[in-house]
Subunit: 170 residues, 2 copies
């Protein structure tokens, strides 16, 4: 494959990965930057990302910050060079662990708080609607707790090597 074709294929891949990102609640640009960095041989600076994806400085900066916040990329600096570079986690299972951990923290934990608050009230046993509410919130709580525990186990970074086997064995 010559260089032109490869460039095209890579750009398409990045664009498509962005589209996919939006299926998950990840914004398009953030997913594209992530794809770009996953495919980059070396850590890359903001200007290079801006130019490659044709996005503004502000946009690049804030999405890079968010990716660092997720732990999906790391800031890299070199002595004698004051620019910051960014490097993506390239092991997909490690990546999965990171995402599992973050989504738990951002989505599961708040849900659990909400559910526990609701289902800990005392209800009128005579009222069918209140009974159903209690039953539903209680079983949702149990469900979310189970999910939370499962994600905890998955998210242990040291397990990233064994995780594929666990999942395959399901």
């Amino acid at each position: 494959m010559d260089n032109e074709d490869f460039k095209q294929l890579k750009d398409d891949f990045i664009a498509q990965w962005g589209t996919l990102g939006s299926c998950w609640g990840i914004n398009r640009t953030m997913a594209q930057i992530h794809a770009y960095l996953m495919l980059a041989v070396e850590p890359t600076d903001t200007n290079t990302v801006m130019d490659a994806l044709k996005i503004s400085r502000g946009n690049a900066n804030s999405n890079l910050r968010d990716l660092v916040g997720w732990g999906l990329i790391k800031r890299v600096t070199y002595p004698g060079d004051r620019k910051e570079y960014f490097d993506a986690e390239k092991d997909v299972w490690a990546m999965f662990c990171i995402i599992a951990r973050e989504r738990k923290r951002r989505e599961i934990d708040p849900a659990l708080n909400l559910l526990q608050a609701s289902s800990s009230k005392s209800f009128n046993k005579r009222d069918a609607e209140q009974q159903l509410f209690l039953k539903q919130t209680a079983s949702l709580t149990e469900f979310v707790q189970t999910a939370s525990t499962a994600l905890n186990k998955i998210a242990r970074a040291e397990q990233s090597k064994v995780l594929p086997f666990i999942v395959k064995r399901l």
Copy 2:
């Protein structure tokens, strides 16, 4: 708990469930309607949903249609009554199976197509960038395939009874 307090609690729960929904790519209203129906003792018609959630007819109609599309709620009709009513799946594990199946279809399968298309090209082994691209797309493909298989197993409805045990045993 008296009826006023309960109404308040239920409304708060529905509102919060909506907020949570947006964490997942589910829109707020759709999640709220779903919550409302999960807590409804009987199948409920469009007008009742509109009134309860203070939303327009069009909005109610399209979100109910989408929920039916996801398989999270069912249309119910009664002989001699030409209105349509909607009833939510109330078993949370069954619900989880439905969501797993749908998300696989909507998110995983397209990703897999994309990845397979990319990683099936022939690359220049001398070029480090092309090598990395091949390596990354190949391992992403493997990962997504594993995820897909796992979700397939999870999504078998008949397993909804055993699923809690599987997950807890992880």
